[in-house]
């Protein structure tokens, strides 16, 4: 699931087919790995051997052992979005095995596991299936072909008379279900490993799929229903101690003095010391147990220097956004026709200003990390969305070389983009290095809420022009806010060049910042979704002015789409209510539908959502709102049935239609839409981090509320049947929701919403 700006100029396809490599193992097994020609790996210290175009990596993807066990290294993390099941299903489909028989483990850091879209090893941007759709299937198919060949040679028959099925090869010539003539994969692995990988790897046609589009189980459900899935916070090491870390309210504050005299003799306390990382300075307390460390923290006093953020609050931040945008409209990210011309000829112009708040991720598993600084290396266990960025962060925070840092990943208790920033890894690494023992750092909920990398707040100014026919002739959207790229490039840039020495990291960070949009993907974290406004207007202008608030910001499930879905879809709804549009006998559904004439997939999604929601016939006591938004390649339309009870917003039902191309696991798509809708409803009803004197004001779930079961609507999800290549599902359910709810309220009361969370007029 989660959250990165998708670079528009990167193709989803890969051409790694020729780099599959089979290796035999001493134990009689087969290993399929992937080699990148001329590439460097961490394992050899990043030295590219001259003349050697291939470096085989032993840490690869698929292994079949002689005992028939099948091992698959998952190179994308599992944080709820379903990669564990989805990626395994892709493999199992082509390999012809039961997905439940595949033993899945999480990948360490290696360049072979890089996300082909971003060039770093990251799980984000709803890209896992899209970026692996081809290569994982090819690995499975190539292996199957080689196993069949091994069986055919064993039986001395033609390969055409063999089929692979359920983890074995069957001699079809001897009669399909003749169990005398079958060999389990494990017994063929040693022979197959001696063959070279076929150059032609045909993949199954859709008609032949047994798993893709049909499989409806969730492979990690059993572990997660029994408390046996290991998350980062569950990591245990011999002799491990527990650490808590006291940070300043303002993230950039430096320590003036601290007094630990009251806690040094408290039970279990071992060490108290100051630590500085790239994004935090603070005091670490190391104790025998978590509670001892946490209790001692209350007796610690720290005095902080003032910082540049001392005078920063929401009012000053929005004043800055507005004045920066007024002075300079910034970068033009969409220009069609001539909006100024439309403005000149308009008979009416509608304008609106939107202010979007900072939002916390609130992963239910608080940030945590286990680090073990040993003489010969630093080992990390972390629930991270980007293992190679974690490696960079740990190396930067310590004296260890990048190649001496080993990252282990775990199940993740919610990511939503929070764990793309690696501050918790840097802290744990530094604390363990100073403490000289293995430590587990656990953040409190308060620390997690107040020291987040928030969805950036942003300011937006929209204008629409009406021409003499009463139609919308022009659309202008200008906006300002921090870009999130600046806040993770420090770890991301060196992760792309692991062979560079540490003293070059700063240079790489600066090169990354300067190369944003040139050598690095453009940072669309404020404007994405706005620049892609799909409606057929003759004159469109979209500008983005970067205006940095100084507050830490990051990727938040659906990133820029999260606010632009709301802004564009409430503003379009407002336009649909104009007398000139009403005079054309178009409601807010038909208005959208007609303007989407260049996007047939969007029209189909909008229509399906409206039909399934009985658009025009709300549930008892409700009004309806509709919204559609495309993100991460996926169209999602949502219709909300909303009631107002005791001046409170009650969302009774959300009907969702989604087109994400070829579906791998239909139930997983439904689950991600359900989850995205409830995640977005939390933001729509409650989400707001406020800043006072540079300090985030919310602390825990009493003042940063999350949706609870009694507030959760009925959700109906409908999937468009499609043969198009798969696109994201983890995030696209989020962007349309707030607008659908707001539009439903507007239909009832006439109130329009220009801020979130939604607050009813008194």
């Amino acid at each position: 699931m989660t959250s990165l700006t998708t670079p528009a100029n990167k193709s989803l396809t890969t051409t790694r087919r020729n780099f599959l490599k089979a290796t035999s193992m001493g134990t009689g097994g087969l290993m399929m790995s992937i080699a990148l020609p001329g590439c460097t790996t961490l394992k050899n210290g990043g030295i590219s051997q001259a003349g050697n175009t291939e470096q085989w990596n032993s840490n690869a993807w698929l292994r079949i052992d002689s005992d028939n066990s099948i091992h698959f290294v998952l190179d994308r993390v599992e944080m709820g979005q379903g990669t564990y099941t989805g990626m395994t299903s892709l493999l199992a489909e082509e390999l012809e095995v039961d997905p439940e028989k595949v033993q899945v483990s999480f990948a360490g850091v290696d360049s072979i596991y890089r996300n082909t879209i971003y060039g770093i090893q990251i799980t984000g941007g709803s890209t896992s299936v899209a970026s692996s759709w081809q290569i994982v299937r090819e690995a499975g198919a190539a292996t199957r072909i080689m196993l069949i060949k091994a069986a055919a040679n064993t039986w001395n028959i033609n390969e055409k008379d063999c089929i692979a099925e359920n983890g074995r090869v069957i001699n079809k010539a001897s009669g399909h279900k003749n169990y005398d003539q079958q060999i389990p994969f494990g017994q063929l692995a040693a022979i197959a490993a001696t063959y070279s990988v076929p150059s032609d790897i045909p993949l199954k046609d859709k008609a032949d799929f047994k798993i893709i589009g049909k499989y409806n189980k969730r492979l990690d459900a059993l572990k997660k229903a029994t408390g046996t899935a290991d998350y980062g916070i569950d990591t245990e090491l011999p002799g491990m101690k527990y650490a808590v870390f006291t940070r300043a309210g303002r993230w950039d504050s430096q320590i003036k003095t601290f007094d630990a005299s009251k806690i040094k003799n408290m039970p279990g306390i071992e060490q108290v010391f100051a630590v500085k990382t790239a994004s935090a300075m603070g005091i670490a307390i190391v104790a025998k147990s978590y509670w001892q460390a946490r209790k001692a923290q209350q007796q610690l006093t720290v005095k902080w220097h003032e910082s540049e953020l001392n005078n920063v609050d929401d009012a000053s931040i929005f004043a800055q956004y507005k004045s920066d945008l007024a002075a300079d409209s910034g970068k033009n990210v969409r220009s069609e026709g001539d909006f100024d011309d439309a403005l000149e000829n308009a008979i009416q112009t509608i304008t609106a200003e939107f202010e979007m708040p900072f939002l916390a991720h609130s992963t239910l598993e608080p940030q945590n990390c286990v680090a073990w600084a040993k003489p010969d290396g630093l080992e990390i266990w972390a629930p991270t969305q980007s293992p190679d960025m974690a490696q960079v962060a740990a190396a930067k925070a310590t004296d260890y070389a990048l190649s001496d840092v080993k990252i282990n990943t775990t199940f993740i208790g919610g990511g939503f983009g929070r764990r793309i920033n690696q501050d918790f890894v840097a802290e744990a690494a530094a604390i363990s290095e100073i403490s000289q023992q293995p430590i587990k750092l656990i953040w409190s909920r308060e620390e997690d809420t107040q020291r987040d990398w928030y969805r950036p707040s942003s300011y937006h100014k929209l204008s629409a022009t009406i021409d003499k026919n009463g139609d919308i002739s022009g659309w202008n959207h200008q906006m300002a806010g921090s870009g999130v790229f600046d806040y993770f490039v420090a770890d991301a840039a060196p992760a792309q060049y692991p062979f560079m020495p540490k003293f070059m990291f700063g240079l790489l960070e600066n090169a990354g910042k300067m190369g944003e949009g040139i050598i690095a993907p453009a940072d669309g974290s404020i404007y994405e979704g706005a620049e892609a406004i799909p409606y057929d207007f003759a004159n469109i202008n979209v500008d983005y002015k970067k205006s940095d608030s100084g507050i830490l910001v990051g990727n938040w499930r659906s990133v820029g789409y999260s606010h632009n879905g709301f802004i564009t879809e409430t503003f379009i709804d407002q336009l649909a209510q104009l007398p000139s549009i009403r005079a054309q006998k178009k409601d807010s559904y038909q208005f959208r539908y007609d303007l989407l004439k260049n996007h047939p997939r969007a029209q189909a999604v909008l229509k399906l959502a409206a039909e399934k929601a009985n658009w025009g016939t709300p549930l008892a006591g409700c009004t309806q709102g509709i919204s559609i938004h495309k993100s991460f390649g996926t169209w999602v339309a949502e219709v909300a049935d909303v009631k107002i009870e005791n001046n409170t917003i009650k969302v009774k039902r959300v009907v969702c239609a989604v087109d994400c191309g070829q579906v791998i696991n239909p139930d997983m798509v439904i689950a991600q839409m359900e989850g995205g809708i409830n995640f977005a409803l939390t933001a729509a009803l409650y989400g707001e981090i406020t800043i006072k004197e540079g300090i985030p004001q919310q602390t825990n779930f009493h003042d940063y509320q999350l949706l609870r079961m009694n507030e959760a609507p009925q959700i109906d999800v409908h999937i468009i049947d499609s043969d198009e290549k798969p696109t994201g599902v983890g995030e696209p359910g989020v962007p349309p929701l707030a607008a659908a709810v707001a539009n439903a309220i507007s239909a009832k009361t006439g109130q329009r919403f220009y801020k979130l969370p939604l607050k009813l007029d008194a």
């Binding site: 459900a221 199940f411 689950a671 009493h702």
Partner: protein, 169 residues
């Protein structure tokens, strides 16, 4: 020394009395299924049963429950021996990130132990103390209804809800 009976097994522990039960169970007994979410009794990730009632163990000092019967997710069932509630959870593919689900299952089990045919309203009332950030609420509700319909109406129901508790002496 503090005595605790967890999943039917008695333990004597040398631990400070104000330590929350959650950390005692996780770090002294090494039962990691119960989770830390908020430390303030607001999210329910740490839910266990105290004498059959769901409690928030992140704010429950261990001294307050000394000598009493504690049940954790590990006492509800194991991958090889699922309780009726856990079976329903798997059947409905309830978990996403899964971090809250131990607590959800503890609350759901406590509900079904006292109300074998809960209405939607009963479920809302019993479950609204448990936050799921991934938003799996529709499936949790459906899974509770499924578990209720699968539960025996006989006295056997208790064994179906708790498959892994040692007989208390």
């Amino acid at each position: 020394m503090i005595k605790l009976t967890v999943n039917g097994i008695e333990h004597s522990l040398d631990v400070e009395g104000d330590t929350p039960l959650l950390w005692v169970v996780r770090d002294y007994l090494d039962l990691k299924g119960s989770k830390f979410g908020c430390g303030a009794g607001l999210c329910g990730a740490c839910t266990m049963h105290l004498n059959g009632n769901p409690i928030r163990t992140c704010i429950t000092p261990v001294s307050a429950v000394a000598g009493q019967a504690i049940t954790t997710i590990e006492g509800i069932g194991t991958p090889d021996s699922l309780s009726t509630v856990q079976q329903a959870w798997v059947e409905h593919n309830v978990p996403q990130c899964g971090y809250c689900q131990s607590g959800q299952i503890m609350s759901a089990t406590a509900l079904l132990a006292t109300n074998s045919k809960p209405s939607d309203q009963d479920i809302d009332n019993a479950m609204s103390g448990n936050i799921c950030r991934c938003g799996t609420y529709p499936r949790i509700k459906a899974a509770i209804h499924t578990a209720a319909s699968n539960l025996s109406t006989t006295s056997n129901a208790k064994n179906e809800l708790f498959t892994n508790i040692m007989e208390v002496k």
